[in-house]
Symmetry: C2
Subunit: 393 residues, 2 copies
Amino acid sequence: MIDFNYYTPTEVVFGKESEDKVAQMVKKYGGKKVLVHFGGKSAQKSGLLDKVCNLLKAEGIPYVTLGGVVPNPRLGKVHEGIDLCRKEGVDFILAVGGGSVIDSGKAIAYGIGYDGDVWDFYCGKAKATSFVPLGAVLTIPAAGSEMSDSSVITNEAIDVKRGYNNDICRPKFAIMNPERSYTLPPYQTAAGVTDIMMHTMERYFSHDVDMTLSDNMAEGLLRTAKECVFAVLKNPEDYRNRAQIMWAGSLAHNGLTGCGRVGDWATHQIGHELSALFDATHGAALAAIWPSWARYVMKEDVSRFVRFAVNVMDVPNDYSDPEGTAIQGVEAIERFYHAIGMPINIPELIGRNVTDAEIKEMSRKCTRDYTMTMGQFKKLTAEDIEKIYRMAN
Amino acid sequence: MIDFNYYTPTEVVFGKESEDKVAQMVKKYGGKKVLVHFGGKSAQKSGLLDKVCNLLKAEGIPYVTLGGVVPNPRLGKVHEGIDLCRKEGVDFILAVGGGSVIDSGKAIAYGIGYDGDVWDFYCGKAKATSFVPLGAVLTIPAAGSEMSDSSVITNEAIDVKRGYNNDICRPKFAIMNPERSYTLPPYQTAAGVTDIMMHTMERYFSHDVDMTLSDNMAEGLLRTAKECVFAVLKNPEDYRNRAQIMWAGSLAHNGLTGCGRVGDWATHQIGHELSALFDATHGAALAAIWPSWARYVMKEDVSRFVRFAVNVMDVPNDYSDPEGTAIQGVEAIERFYHAIGMPINIPELIGRNVTDAEIKEMSRKCTRDYTMTMGQFKKLTAEDIEKIYRMAN
């Protein structure tokens, strides 16, 4: 067990009509001039954007808007946001959407008070020390950005997708109304649940196996997400199960299930390269990689995979064959991914095999030009990562 | 499922030597003149108090000290603290100890800026609007006050013990070093674990049974606490298991396991009267009452008790006899309480039966002179509460 800090200051307002409180929350946290940041047409079509803007107006809080954030959010949009905020004197970012919108908002909030290019933080050149306060109105449960210390941005000029973690970016508040996720298409719903589960699994597959409480919490969260997804795929307006998934998304990535241990995160890094190169949906890219990652690293600690198989995937424990039980856990999650419409390899993700050149290119980028290893459960070199891409191909 | 707010801003610093950071944390949260608040001799004997004071000194932060807080902390000490803080211009409370010390510190922090008697908040006459920032250095895992919105004070003049909940009292930081709980005697260790489990069970026994995630988290926490206590009773210096218990204590009462549902809390109220009248250890009083409460209210929703029996107490589910399974769950926790040295009724708690007059007096006080019911799973009148005391007698 390692020492840990746990810091989740975000005030969560969860439930039906919770967005009614948006203006009073902005006020509570000191917003005087707001950037309302959003994605595509769904926030407009659903009426959520109008509702939020009208509530700000009614409370006398001036705002400007910036839409057009896309999945795997782009640095170009972030630069546009920073320029707008500086020009307009924005002192509060209100992100209305899912992880991409919140992550883009976080990047803008880092950038406003920074002299250099905000990309410096994402590529490791600098550490952010200022952050304009940000609140979130969540519509897509997946990334967990509404409570997390992380954001992920794609630099479209160089096809590089990078995450940056810093406690100062944790949102002041998160407004979560599960009804706002009713219109999510099945593929996005399933990819979101995959991402939620992966945020938990990246923390769970650790060599710090003596943190029983984190294990038990993680397994409870994973079982919840795994069960609830079928109900909402069958009935998209199932409030109860949409709510479980939405709340699971926050708890999966606010730090709770990682207390006391070092997580792995290799699957995220390997998946990011697929998203950057093929603009693949983040959650789906994780599903395409994880089974291969699991088979490749399993021997580092088979017992961990046995625990996962038995306690999460309901595989009967064959005590005489731990490796067999572990493998069955991986096969069980492959069946689960297929059952919810997720890929389990790269061809299923992007519709074709990746070429050898693409594998080499992704492995090079993933290891920052061969200067770093990825993951902790097994520290993966570019060569290891190439092998995993090939296994998943 | 009910709408909910979740707000746990406390910055947790968890691990060996975490108290080394105490002065920098006080500084981070703006403390310029500190009250170091503590209990009896153990904080002095262990050297923790000296260590904390020396660290403040080294950082150039002036402080005054106030010790002598007792279990079931008294209003008289709170008044003493308020006077001292006003006289000395204290702007930060540092509570070094367990729940009693933190609760006493919270009451002082409410009182400093309040014109009336701080007891007004606890007896429901007024709502607190100011609170001097407070940090905690935890030594006894039990009450969860280090992250919670609650504090409980005994007004010794009238033998009344009352809790008060308000988000403004959540500590700024909590420093938790499991090694600091090594010297806890077995009885206090067991009572602490009982309290931790009861904080979770008071939220779990609810009619909002559709919050799967909270259920799964609660069960994971309960199983952890239930397993880990035996290890530390056997070996008080078992870091791993002391750590599970300490962290479980915080998560049990910071709100996490209650998200989306109305809790019960009758056992706490009924137990408080025993603590107020007989100065009984809080956790032990809960153990003495809960089995009788459970049998008395079970028919309100037997399925809830079946789930508890099976998922927490490892009782085999007799599908043909839900009530039998539910009862077996209660019997299992009675065996568990006995195994860790806790009472399961009032005579085992205080060494004698309570008299009829005492039962009537406690029931009267518990219902605020017959003006209120207690609990939510079943709303208990004074008559119900009398019956529960008799069952436990």
